[in-house]
Symmetry: C2
Subunit: 519 residues, 2 copies
C-alpha cells in the first residue's frame, strides 16, 4: 500500500505566527522538498499576494525531480463568470500542472461567511473545477471543514463533494480545518466517503486538539491515499499536521510506502533546513528529528542505553537521520559522564573519582545558570580543563565594550581585548555592528596570527535567555552560541547577569573548542 505526501509548507505553513518567507526562501524550500521526495508541493496562492505570483514565475526555471507543483485558490465567486474571475486567471497564470481548489462543505460557512445560497455554493464548486479542467489542469479539491460540516448537515456536505466530482476533481481532500476532530471519527467518515463516492480521498488535518498526526494516520486506515501537511507542522494557529512525523510513522510504524528508506533518513536534515530558512529555532522536542528526540538524561535511561541501544528508543535514530545523545546535567550519574568521555574520544582515562568531581562541578555551574545539555562544546571543555596537563590555547586578560548613540550620528560599537597566547600578549581594538560583533572582531584580530583556522569559524546562532524574570533587566542571562566550521557544529554556553560577559564566555568557548577539534 502507498500514500502520497502533499506538502503545503509554502502556503498553509506561512499562515503560522512568526513565519514570513521571501521568494528566495520559498525557492530554496521547494528544492529541498523535491529532494525529500514529496509527491506534491503547494507553492502558494497566486491570487493572494504578488510574492506568490513572482514565486510561480521563477519556480518555472527550477526542474523538479520528484514533485508536482500545485497552485492554490478558493473557488470562484458567486455571480461572477469563471472566465472573468481574476483570481482564477492568476491561478492559471501560475502555469502549474496541478491546481488545488478549496470550497465550503459546511452550510454555516456558506450562509454566514460566504453569504451565498447553498445551491450557489454547489454551482461555484462544480463550475470552478470544470473550468480549470477545460484549461488542462489536474484538480485536487480541498473540502474545507468537511468533518464539522458533515456533523452539522451530512446531506449537504456530501452534495458539495459530489459537485467537485461532477466538476472533474481527481482527488477529494477532507479537511479538518479547525482541528477539532477525533481520530476514530475521521477514520469512520473517511471510510464512508471512499465507499460512497469511489474516488481517491486525501486528508488535511490541523493540530488544535493535539491530534493532527493521529488524525492523518486514522484517515489512511480509513482509505485515504493522500496526506496533506507541512514540514515541522508549521501553520495557522497551533499548526498543520506535521508531515515529518507522518512520513516516519507511515513508513517505519505502519509499513506504508510514501518515501524511500533513504529519503526517510533525510527527514532530520530537511526539518532543520526548513526551520533554518523559515528563521525559527528548531524545536528540540520535536518527535523523530528534534535534538532531544533520542537524548537520555536520567541516570537509569543513560545506563540502559549503553547496555542496549533499543531499551529506551522506539526506533534506531539513524533511520530518520538523527542520533543518540547522553546528556550531562544535575540528574546525571557517573555513567553519563563516562559515556560522554568515551564519545569524545579524548584518549584519556577518567577515574571514578574524576567522574564524581565532574558531576559535582556541573551541578555547581548549573546552579549558576549554565546548562550543558545544549552546549556540548562547553561540556567538552569542562572535561578537558580538568586535566592537569591541559593548556588553553589562549587566555583572556581584559576587555572593554562601548556602545554609543549620539543624535545625528550612527550607532557606534567598539571593543578592546587583551589576550595572552603562550608568552605573547596581544592588545587589539575593533569596531562592530554591535557589542558582541565588536568583541568577536577584536578577539579574532588578536588570535588570527596564531591560529589562522579561526577565520573559518562561523557563529550560526546566538540565543539569550533570562533566568529569573522577577529580576527584570538585572536578571541572570544565559547565552548559547552555535558555531560551525563546514559541516561540524557545536554549542557553547555563558551565564552572567551581564549579557556581554555571558556572550564573551560563550564566544571564548566557541573559539577554544574550534582550536581543539578537527583539522
Amino acid at each position: 500500500m502507498s500514500v502520497e505526501l502533499y506538502d503545503t509548507t509554502l502556503r498553509d505553513g506561512t499562515q503560522a505566527e512568526g513565519i514570513s518567507l521571501s521568494v528566495e526562501d520559498k525557492l530554496k524550500i521547494t528544492r529541498k522538498l523535491d529532494e525529500l521526495g514529496v509527491h506534491y508541493i503547494e507553492g502558494g496562492w497566486p491570487g493572494s499576494n504578488p510574492k506568490d505570483v513572482e514565486y510561480f514565475a521563477r519556480v518555472q526555471e527550477m526542474p523538479l525531480q520528484n514533485a508536482l507543483l500545485c497552485a492554490f485558490s478558493y473557488t470562484g465567486r458567486a455571480g461572477l463568470r469563471v472566465d472573468e474571475d481574476t483570481n482564477l486567471a492568476m491561478l492559471l497564470g501560475a502555469r502549474t500542472p496541478v491546481v488545488t481548489i478549496v470550497g465550503k462543505s459546511w452550510d454555516l460557512h456558506v450562509t454566514e461567511v460566504l453569504r451565498v445560497s447553498e445551491d450557489q455554493n454547489l454551482k461555484m464548486i462544480e463550475e470552478t473545477i470544470a473550468y480549470l479542467r477545460s484549461k488542462g489542469r489536474r484538480v485536487i479539491y480541498d473540502a474545507e471543514h468537511f468533518f464539522d460540516g458533515y456533523h452539522a448537515n451530512p446531506e449537504y456536505a456530501m452534495r458539495t463533494l459530489e459537485a467537485a466530482v461532477n466538476g472533474g476533481a481527481e482527488t477529494l481532500v477532507l479537511c479538518d480545518t479547525n482541528g477539532g476532530s477525533l481520530p476514530w471519527d475521521i477514520e469512520d467518515l473517511t471510510r464512508m466517503v471512499c465507499k460512497e463516492l469511489n474516488v481517491p480521498v486525501g486528508i488535511h488535518a490541523h493540530n488544535d486538539s493535539e491530534l493532527a498526526v493521529a488524525n492523518s494516520l486514522a484517515a489512511v486506515r480509513g482509505g485515504a491515499v493522500q496526506v496533506q501537511g507541512t514540514i515541522n507542522g508549521y501553520g495557522e494557529r497551533v499548526g498543520n499536521a506535521n508531515l515529518v512525523s507522518i512520513a516516519a510513522d507511515l513508513k517505519l510504524k505502519m509499513g506504508i510506502d510514501c518515501l524511500s528508506e533513504e529519503q526517510v533518513r533525510s527527514l532530520t536534515e530537511v526539518a532543520h533546513y526548513v526551520s533554518e530558512v523559515a528563521n525559527l529555532a528548531p524545536d528540540s522536542r520535536q518527535p523523530f528529528v528534534g535534538a532531544s528526540a533520542f537524548a537520555h538524561k536520567g541516570g537509569i535511561h543513560a545506563d540502559a542505553t549503553v547496555k542496549c541501544r533499543e531499551s529506551y528508543q522506539h526506533i534506531d535514530p539513524e533511520q530518520v537521520g538523527n542520533h543518540t545523545r547522553v546528556l550531562i546535567s544535575e540528574l546525571s550519574g557517573k555513567g553519563n559522564v563516562l559515556y560522554k568521555v568515551g564519545e569524545l574520544d579524548l584518549g584519556m582515562e577518567v577515574s571514578k573519582e574524576e567522574a564524581r568531581q565532574l558531576v559535582q562541578q556541573i551541578k555547581d555551574l548549573e546552579s549558576k545558570g549554565f546548562v550543558f545539555e545544549g552546549a556540548e562544546g562547553s561540556a567538552e571543555l569542562l572535561l578537558r580543563r580538568n586535566r592537569a596537563d591541559y593548556e588553553p590555547p589562549f587566555e583572556l586578560i581584559d576587555f572593554m565594550v562601548v556602545v554609543e548613540h549620539r543624535q545625528g550620528r550612527d550607532m557606534l560599537s567598539e571593543a578592546t581585548v587583551k589576550v595572552r597566547v603562550g608568552d605573547e600578549i596581544k592588545h587589539t581594538a575593533a569596531e562592530g555592528n554591535g557589542p558582541v560583533n565588536a568583541l568577536d572582531a577584536a578577539l579574532r584580530k588578536a588570535l588570527l596570527r596564531f591560529y589562522p583556522k579561526l577565520e573559518n569559524v562561523q557563529l550560526e546562532d546566538y540565543k539569550v535567555r533570562i533566568l529569573d524574570g522577577d529580576a527584570a533587566t538585572a536578571a541572570k542571562t544565559r547565552v548559547l552560541i552555535d558555531s560551525s566550521i563546514g559541516q561540524r557544529r557545536w554549542g557553547t554556553v555563558g551565564s552572567s547577569a551581564n549579557i556581554i560577559e555571558a556572550s564573551w564566555q560563550a564566544l571564548r568557548d566557541s573559539f577554544e573548542y574550534a582550536l581543539l577539534n578537527g583539522d
Copy 2:
C-alpha cells in the same frame, strides 16, 4: 463516565532536557496542580536524589484539597530482602498515601538491562508491592514498556501484570515507555487487559511518534480509567503525554468527566504558570493554551472570525481560559488592522486609507526584522504614532553604554541617557548588572520624576533572535521584551544589528506603552 488524571510533571517531567526544578519550584507546582484538580500528583523519586527527599518532607506541611500525593520508585532489587532495600525505605519515608512502583514487562529488559531471570523479576514485582501494601500504602503499578513487551513476549508481559495484581496493586498502568506505539494497538491491548484481569487500568504514554495524546485517548476508549501525563507534555526525550490537551479533549470533545468546567477554564493559566516556574518559554503553538492557539493571521480567516466566531475555532477559547487574537503581519489585510484598532478601543476612527498605510508600514518594518505578532505593545504604538495629534510621553536624545572587564576587578556596566520630556531635558547615568539593566536604570531615573508609575513596570522576559545566521555576530538582532504591571502584560520589539540598540527600542516601547495604558 469519568477518568482520573495522574500528573508526573514533578518526576517524569523533570527528565526533560532543559528542566531543573528546585524544591521551592516543586512545592509551587504542587499547589497549582492541586488547585487545577488533578487526582494524583507524583512528587518525585525519593531514592534518586536528596532534593526529592527534602520535597517530600516539606510537602507534608501543605494541605491538599483535591489531589493525593504519590512517591515513585522502581521495584526492589533481586537478591535483596525488601525490608533491607534502602530505596524502598526511602519510598516509605516519603509518607505519601499512594506509592507508584514501576517494573519490567519486556523480557529483553529483564535479561539485558536488569540482568536477572524472568522469574526473579516476577518475584520482585509481587514482593515489592505486597511489602508496601503491608505498610499501609495504596499501590499503583506502572508496567514499563508494556506494549513493546507484549509484542515481544505476550505471555510473559501478562505474567508481570498478574504478579502486580497478586502483590495487591490497585491500578495497572500500561506504559508506552518508548513512545513508539500506535493508537489502535493501544486501544486493543488496553481493552484486552481490562477484560483479562478485571482491575482498573491506566495509560502512560510518551510522544516519540507524535501520538501521545491520541494514544491516551485511545486507551480510555479501550477502558482505561487513569491517564498519566505532564503539564505541557514535558518529559524525557520529546516528552510525555500532555495532560493539558488530554484534559481538554476528554472533557470538551469526548464528554468524559475528569475536571470541572471551571477547572478546565484554568488550563491556560496552569500551563503558563508551570512553564514560568520551570523557566521555559511557553510554547505559543501549544494546542488549547498557546498564545497562537486562537490567533488568526490570514486575511480570510481574520475576516471570517469577525463575521462568525466559530468559523475557524474548534472551541470557544474561553472554555480553556484562552482568547482570540487577530494578528497584524505582512499577510494582513485591512480587516486585521481594523479589527485590531477596534480591539484597542483607542476611540479613533481609522479610514481605509490610513489602514492601507499602516499595512504598508508594517510590511516595511517587518522587512527590517521587526515582528509585531508577539509584540502587541509595539503594534499599538505604531497605530498611535500615526495619529497627527499623538504626543510621545518622552523622546530620546542620546545614550551610551560601557561594559568593562579588568583583571582582578568585577565587571562594570554603566549607561548614560539623555531624554526630553515636554520642555525639559534630563541627562542621567546609572550602573547596572549588565548593559541593558544599566540602560533601564538610567532611563527610569530620567523618567520617574515625571511618571512615578514606571516604578511598577516589570520586565518579565527578554528574548533575542539572530535573523541571518550567515552574518554571525554582525547579524541583525531582534529583541522581544515582555513587561507587566500587575496582571497586565505586553510585548514590545526592537530590531538592529546592534543588540543594545534593539534592546533600547524594545525598552523604550515598553515604557511608552505603560504610560499610555491602564490606570
